[in-house]
């Protein structure tokens, strides 16, 4: 099977340029609220020569490229467009596997036997993406996912690179070991310490050396260096069971206020639990992610005695982990995830104690309200307290209406100014992404 990896070029920034013609040709930096501190979510190709890249602190980006347009990202927009792109790919083949919000593997049928035939389809997809969305995509083509993925990075933007195993070796063997898909900075460093500096050197490294250094993945890494990969393409309509579900948020400001952190944690636990119930999962391991203002990240987890998809059980564990691991330093990012997932229907059922069936019925009723009216229609009280403190409304229009009297009570404005209304009505939390 020939596989394409379609990688949207500078996706978030390109979407903003496509939607807003005055941004075209200019350096565009997509971020959280540009008025606050945060990190660069995406940089357009025009911004990259200034050294700006995703993940960089906004303050640093402003120093390097003060003339850029700073645009607040809109995750719902990017996800919506990503789904439209998947629809476009499925017109060519049902075998489409989303890899991220801006990348997807496209498996071509047995009638496509050569790289040249696959390249014709790749070019057609590129033209269609440009025509319908005004966006650029780079495409890698190969006999497996590994080659397709690595080939997609050879020529950007709007490139198309088709490689067979021989072509793969020719292109990648001379390249630095870190160009290998899956080899991050730490693994690359270990490899370099063993004298493996290029992909070619990994391909020729002796088995015993790789096994001794990396265990069972050692020989697998060498196979990858030969362009071999038997990972199946899993079309998204068939789906894969999730391994974990979580949410994390980069706070709008570094925060050392306990009540605000606890409120944020409650909101995250509530979101994770809602998502798990929505997708029919229960889980047993709760993980807290805590990143402080110096970018020191702590991950701590605890196993529950049984499976759950209830915020009332996830939150106390996350809270206990916070209390045990937070040293009082200002926090930059908080995250909650639940792993060791099982399908709710397959998981062993815990016997309900007296009163718990009532709680369960209440939870089901609240879920139905939120399914019908949106997430903002009912939220845990503790998260409202936290939002009042931050003057920040991450849940949409209904909660902003609910908060409006509180803002007036605070005596800021009897009738909020347009700018105050903008802040109060802010319906999204662009710093928040599923990990």
């Amino acid at each position: 099977m020939m596989i394409l990896l379609v990688d949207m070029d500078a996706f978030f920034a390109s979407v903003e340029q496509a939607h807003h013609p005055h941004l075209r040709g200019k350096p565009v930096i997509v971020c959280g609220d540009p008025g606050r501190r945060g990190v660069v979510t995406a940089a357009s190709y025009e911004a990259r020569p200034f050294g700006v890249h995703a993940g960089m602190r906004l303050q640093e980006a402003r120093r390097l490229c003060p003339q850029a347009e700073y645009v607040e990202g809109d995750p719902a927009k990017y996800v919506g467009l990503s789904l439209q792109l998947l629809d476009l790919y499925t017109r060519y083949t049902p075998d489409v596997e989303p890899f991220s919000v801006d990348e997807a593997f496209v498996g071509l049928g047995p009638e496509v036997r050569t790289l040249e035939q696959a390249a014709v389809i790749g070019r057609e997809i590129q033209r269609e993406i440009d025509r319908r969305f005004g966006l650029g995509a780079s495409i890698g083509i190969g006999p497996n996912k590994l080659v397709a993925k690595m080939a997609s990075g050879v020529e950007k933007p709007r490139g198309l690179t088709a490689l067979d195993p021989e072509g793969f070796r020719e292109v990648f063997w001379p390249r630095d070991i870190q160009t290998m898909w899956g080899v991050g900075p730490k693994l690359a460093e270990r490899m370099r310490s063993l004298g493996i500096k290029t992909v070619g050197e990994l391909a020729r490294a002796p088995d015993h050396l790789l096994k001794a250094a990396f265990g069972i993945i050692g020989p697998q890494l060498r196979e990858c260096a030969w362009g071999e990969d038997d990972t199946p393409l899993v079309p998204y309509h068939r789906g894969l069971d999730a391994k974990s579900m979580g949410h994390e948020v980069t706070l709008t400001e570094d925060c050392d206020d306990r009540a605000s952190l606890e409120g944020t944690l409650l909101r995250l636990a509530d979101q994770v639990a809602r998502r798990m119930r929505g997708e029919g999962y229960v889980g047993r391991t709760v993980t807290l992610k805590l990143r402080d203002h110096r970018f020191v990240t702590v991950l701590r987890q605890r196993v529950l005695p049984d499976f759950t998809a209830e915020a009332e059980r996830i939150y106390p564990v996350a809270l206990a982990l916070l209390h045990a691991n937070w040293n009082g330093a200002a926090v930059r990012l908080l995250g909650v995830s639940v792993s060791q997932l099982a399908r709710a229907a397959d998981a062993p059922q815990r016997e309900l104690f007296a009163g718990e069936d009532r709680s369960q019925r209440l939870r089901e009723a609240l879920d139905r309200v939120r399914d019908r009216l949106g997430e903002a229609s009912v939220v845990p009280l503790g998260t409202l307290v936290h939002r009042r403190r931050l003057a920040h409304v991450p849940f949409g229009t209904l909660s902003s209406r609910a908060l409006a009297p509180a803002k007036r009570d605070a005596g800021r404005n009897a009738r909020p100014s347009p700018r105050a209304r903008v802040r109060a009505n802010r319906a999204r939390d662009p710093g928040e992404v599923p990990p």
Partner: protein, 90 residues
């Protein structure tokens, strides 16, 4: 820079090929004529599907409009208010 708004607006639109398209809208006392719809996407809020439109006005300004079928109503979600001037920020 873009300003995030949530201003109710009056919109004149057309149904073309089964889809609604904004043609002009009134905001802050003036009528803005839509030259081109540059992008469309949607977002689910409960059972409702909110339709978003990125539009360019006849005078070259950029806006994002949202059609909420529950009203039904239109909201001006985002408006371009001039260059962001990145250097004067924190």
């Amino acid at each position: 820079m873009f300003e995030s708004l949530s201003d109710p607006i009056d919109v004149i639109g057309a149904f073309l090929e089964g889809r609604i398209q904004p043609l002009r809208f009134r905001w802050q006392g003036r009528v803005v004529r839509v030259r081109k719809v540059t992008g469309q996407w949607s977002r689910r809020e409960g059972q409702a599907v909110l339709r978003y439109f990125a539009v360019e006005s006849a005078t070259g300004e950029s806006y994002e409009l949202c059609y909420d079928p529950r009203g039904p109503s239109w909201i001006l979600a985002r408006a371009w208010t001039g260059p962001s001037g990145g250097s004067d920020r924190a």
